[in-house]
Structures are given as structure tokens and as C-alpha cells.
Amino acid sequence: MIGLYHFLILSGVLFSLGVLGVLLRRNALVVLMAVELMLNAANLAVVAFVRYPMFGDGGIVNAQDYAAMTNGMTLVFLVMTVAAAEVGVGLAIVINLYRQKKSVNIEEANALKG
């Protein structure tokens, strides 16, 4: 039987993969994609939480309100919106970098340090 923590573990793994991508990859676009992976992992967790009420009788939300509680979905919707906006700005910044350096390697942008 699939339960909440199956989803959570999958979400955790995907999130970690995203973090790993940010850490390991030098291509700015791939880093951007890895961030998208992180955000979507978070979304998955939220939707799983919406569907599986964690608390039973002693829970924070009483059962009859449950059907009306779709606010987690709104959160996911907004995260998607924000992610889209972020990708837009991010791509512009990457293009700007490419124009300056003829490369999208983030490790070449290391003039500022110390």
C-alpha cells in the first residue's frame, strides 16, 4: 500500500538530486534545471501532504474540513508560476553571461572573490 512516506521519500530523493546537480554541474543551464528539479520535488511533497492528512483524531484539522482544504494546491500553483518567472529571468541572465564570456560555465565567472 502506497502511503505518505513513499511520496515523501521520492520527493526527498528528487530534491537531493537537484541539490547534487547544483553542486556538481558547471553549466549554468543545467544548474537552472537542477533548481527546477528541487522546486518540483517540493511540489510533490505538498500535493502528497494535501492528499494524506497526517493527523488523525488528534490532528490539527478536523475531518469534515478536509474536503474544503485545497490550499496546498494553490501553493503548488504559485510555486510553478514563480518557477516559470525565475526561469525567464535566469535564461536572460545566462544569455547575458554567454554574451560576455562566450561560455555558460559558471566557474569561469570567478573574478569576484576574497
Binding site: 530534491f15 537537484g18 541539490v19 547544483v22 549554468a28 544548474v31 537552472l32 533548481v35 528541487m38 522546486l39 520535488a41 517540493a42 511540489n43 511533497a45 505538498v46 502528497a48 501532504f49 492528512p53 497526517m54 493527523f55 490532528g59 490539527i60 484539522v61 482544504m69 490550499n71 496546498g72 494553490t74 501553493l75 504559485l78 510555486v79 514563480v82 518567472a85 525565475e86 529571468v89 535566469g90 536572460a92 541572465i93 545566462v94 547575458n96 553571461l97 560576455q100 564570456k101 559558471i106 565567472a109 570567478n110 573574478a111 569576484l112 572573490k113 576574497g114
Partner: protein, 485 residues
């Protein structure tokens, strides 16, 4: 199906709407008026911000959330709106000076500053994690862009890339944190979260993990160590007015978000403060040390200010950790003081340019006192206030911050704070020594600075001394805020 539309009280968010209209107006002026002049853009923005400022002042505070519980117009949000609007005005003014020499900066620059301001104001009035999150993003995206808006300098592009990538990375943590908190409490409404947490005053591991992730996301915004590493690079690379707004507006907004989420009593996580204070305690400690140690050996003015700003984030976090009312009050007061002194310092960095050469190194300030005495005097006030010299707002603020820490019995934290503050005198006074004591380089004269820049610096300097001598001007308002919420 019955659809219940909640009450729409637009007049309650009038300041935000006015700023939005101003931003659009500024953009439109570029589109439709061919002979748009810089002065007009700055004037439009100033006018809009002034109207918004006085509108915010005239709003009546109420602790009842509006817009179906999404936002709340309490006195805290009204005060912060004023702080943000005043800050945006100062940044617009010093940005005017910058744009005068870098004509491509306009007018999107001003518009983006205004968009970021809306984001900050939204954070200030959030009563729910969702608008808080959207506000943070609305604040961040324009700042990412502003950091990269100077096409003539490679550093600017690099700054914006780093800022963006790391910002997006931290957003991932923030969203994941919100997800866990939502998962445990089944709501994003801060008031409901607060009530339920107070009812079950015990944290589940998932909730604590949510705190940690949320702290990473917000810690990035306020550049708490070790989430601070983007800050020196971005501050140095970004165009100076953008740096000023990143250093002040974004950081203050980050603290406001922390405040909304963590400390406001009966609203949010305050009931579980035993669980999250140790984390912030450590972050504050590391931040104070790293910020001050980093600033010590810098020769680049903006980079030095960046580390100094990190250190100030640490002091603020120290008072914040105490979780007491006096801590919140001290944090609020120090935010206002910090805004004035930091914007002022960056304003001087803009104004103290020589022909064809921006002021980058601290040594570039040599002889400023001889040629531009007022500029040097104002900078001295900013530096002394940052250092916490008595007689300036910085001292009063720090006294309270440390007082709050002592009151909360965080003796070691206060001790480290005082020690690092004393250390900070070294690099702040070094700036003064360069300005007053070192011989001017007479071959290159300092540029004349514009009226708007002078006005901004005057406002900052007068404000700092004024708040240093009469802190009660602000204090009474602040007490109203913490008493009301």
C-alpha cells in the same frame, strides 16, 4: 455551486497599488515620451513614493487580517511600509546620480527598484506563507536583474549570475520548508499555524526540519553565515545603487519575514521557540564573527561594506534570537538605522567618483575631506554609526540589541557581539582616516555630485544623528507595533 467572494478592501493596500502605478508610469514614460528626461523619471518616482508614504501613514492599523486572511494591516506592516518607501526613495535618489553617469540604467532601473519595493511591502503585511513566498520572489527577481543591469562591467554580469543561481537554490530550500510546515500543520495561515502550534506545544521532527529549511531560505536573504557567501561578490559586482537596495531592502525584508514567521507572539512559531532558537543562536554567532573578520582586510569599499552588512545581520539575528519584545523592538529600530547608514555609505561611494573612475577601493576616498568636506563628513557619520559610536543611531540600536541579548541571558552571544563590534571599529575608522588624513590625489578631482544624491546623504546623516540623539521619535512608533501585535 456557491462561490463566496471575500471582502475586497483595496484601500487597505493602497500604498502598494500606488507604488505599482508609479512603476508602470515610470516604464510608460520611457515608452511613450521620446524625450524622457532623467529628472522626470526620478521626480515621478519620488512623487509616487511620497504619496504612497503618506498614504501608508494615514492608514489605520487593525490586527484583523484582510483578503481572506492573506494579509494584515497591523501597525508593524504600516511602519515597515514607511521604512521601505523611504528606503526606495533614497535609493532612487542615489540611483539618479549613478544613472547620470551610466545613461543606460534608466528608467527600467527605477521601475525595478519599485517592483522590489512592492515585494518588500507584501512581505511586511503577510499573514500567510503563500503571500510571504510570493513577496520574497517579487523582491528577489528584480534584484537579480538589477545586479546585472550594468552591461559595461563584466563584474555586474557575474554578480547577477551568482546572485540568481544561489538565490534560486535557496528558494528551493524555502519552498521545501514551507511544504513541510504545511504538511504538519495543514495550513499556510500564520495565525492558524500559531494557534495550533500553541495548542500542541511540541514539535514533530518534520516540523523542525521545516524550520531548518525555512531558515536556509530566509537566511540566504539576510545573508546569515554560512548562507552569506554570495553577498560580498554580489555587493561588489552589482551597480552601486542596486547594491544599496540589495543590502538594505532585501535584508530588512528577510528579517521581517523571519519575524512574521518565527517570533510574533500568538501568530506563528513563537510557541516552539525552544526548538528553533538554538539554530539561529549559532547562525548569529558565526555571522558576527565571519562578517567582521571578513571586513577586516578588505581594500574594496563595497566589499568591505558587504561584510559589514553581513556582520550587522548577525547583530540583528542576535537580538532576534532572544525572542523577547525588547528584542523585536531593538531589531526594528536597528533596521531603520541600518537602512540609513548603509544607503548613505553606498551613496557616498557613488558620489565620490572622480572623472571617469568610480570609487572602488577605500583608498580612492583619500583626500575627500579636503575637496568635498560635506561628503566626507556625511561618510564619517555613516561609518561611526555603523561602528556604533555613541551619539548616532547605530549606538543606540546596538545598545538595545546587546541589551536584548543580555536580558535573554545570551551572555556569550552578547560578549562575542561586543568583541566583534570593537573589532569593527578598525575597518570603519580606516575609512575616516583615508578621507581625513591621507593626502588627496590632486591630479584627479572628485566629480560634482547631483542635488538628489546630496539630498539623500543629508537625509541619511541627519536621520542618523537625529535618531541617535532623539531615538524616541521612532521608538514610540515601534512600541506601538510590538504592543499591538
Amino acid at each position: 455551486m456557491q462561490i463566496q467572494v471575500p471582502e475586497i478592501s483595496l484601500w487597505q493596500v493602497l500604498p502598494e497599488l500606488i507604488v505599482l502605478a508609479t512603476a508602470v508610469g515610470v516604464l510608460a514614460s520611457d515608452l511613450f515620451v521620446k524625450s524622457v528626461q532623467r529628472v522626470n523619471v526620478t521626480l515621478t518616482a519620488t512623487l509616487g513614493l511620497l504619496i504612497a508614504f503618506f498614504t501608508a501613514r494615514s492608514l489605520e492599523a487593525s490586527a484583523t487580517p484582510i483578503f481572506a486572511g492573506m494579509v494584515v494591516r497591523d501597525s508593524l506592516s504600516i511602519l515597515l511600509d514607511q521604512i521601505f518607501l523611504a528606503g526606495a526613495m533614497l535609493v532612487t535618489w542615489i540611483g539618479h546620480e549613478y544613472a547620470r553617469r551610466n545613461p543606460r540604467q534608466f528608467p527600467e532601473f527605477t521601475a525595478l527598484v519599485l517592483f522590489a519595493t512592492i515585494g518588500m511591502m507584501v512581505i511586511a503585511m503577510s499573514a500567510d506563507l503563500i503571500p510571504l513566498f510570493v513577496g520574497i520572489e517579487l523582491l528577489s527577481l528584480p534584484l537579480f536583474v538589477l545586479a546585472g543591469s550594468d552591461k559595461d562591467r563584466l563584474a555586474s554580469g557575474e554578480a547577477s549570475l551568482k546572485y540568481f543561481l544561489l538565490g534560486a537554490f535557496s528558494t528551493g530550500f524555502l519552498v521545501y520548508g514551507i511544504a513541510f510546515i504545511f504538511g504538519v500543520t495543514r495550513t499556510t495561515n500564520l495565525t492558524v499555524i500559531g494557534q495550533s502550534l500553541a495548542a500542541h506545544a511540541e514539535a514533530t521532527p518534520l516540523l523542525v526540519l521545516g524550520f531548518a529549511l525555512l531558515l536556509v531560505g530566509l537566511g540566504f536573504k539576510i545573508s546569515l553565515a554560512p548562507f552569506h557567501m554570495w553577498a560580498p561578490d554580489v555587493y561588489q559586482g552589482a551597480p552601486t545603487p542596486a547594491t544599496a537596495w540589495i543590502a538594505t531592502g532585501s535584508k530588512i525584508a528577510g528579517f521581517v519575514a523571519l519575524m512574521r514567521v518565527f517570533t510574533l507572539p500568538d501568530v506563528s512559531f513563537a510557541a516552539l521557540s525552544d526548538y528553533w532558537t538554538p539554530g539561529i543562536w549559532w547562525l548569529a554567532l558565526i555571522t558576527m564573527i565571519i562578517g567582521n573578520a571578513g571586513a577586516l582586510m578588505q581594500s574594496d569599499l563595497k566589499r568591505m561594506l558587504a561584510y559589514s552588512s553581513i556582520a550587522h545581520g548577525g547583530y540583528l539575528a542576535m537580538a532576534f534570537t532572544s525572542g523577547t519584545r525588547i528584542g523585536a523592538e531593538a531589531t526594528l529600530f536597528y533596521m531603520a538605522a541600518y537602512l540609513l547608514m548603509t544607503v548613505g555609505a553606498f551613496g557616498v561611494a557613488i558620489a565620490a567618483s572622480r572623472s571617469g573612475q568610480e570609487c572602488e577601493k577605500i583608498a580612492d576616498l583619500s583626500g575627500l575631506a579636503r575637496q568635498r568636506p560635506w561628503l566626507a563628513f556625511a561618510m564619517s557619520i555613516f561609518m561611526l554609526s555603523l561602528a556604533g559610536m555613541p551619539g548616532t543611531a547605530g549606538f543606540v540600536g546596538k545598545l538595545w540589541l546587546f541589551g536584548a541579548a543580555v536580558q535573554a541571558q545570551y551572555y556569550s552571544l552578547a560578549l562575542i557581539g561586543v568583541l566583534t563590534t570593537l573589532l569593527s571599529f578598525y575597518y570603519y575608522l580606516r575609512v575616516i582616516v583615508y578621507m581625513y588624513v591621507h593626502e588627496p590625489d590632486d591630479r584627479l578631482l572628485f566629480n560634482r555630485y547631483s542635488f538628489s544624491n546630496g539630498l539623500a546623504l543629508t537625509v541619511c546623516a541627519v536621520g542618523l544623528v537625529g535618531l541617535g540623539v532623539f531615538p524616541n521619535l521612532l521608538w514610540s512608533t515601534i512600541r506601538l507595533c510590538t504592543g499591538a501585535v
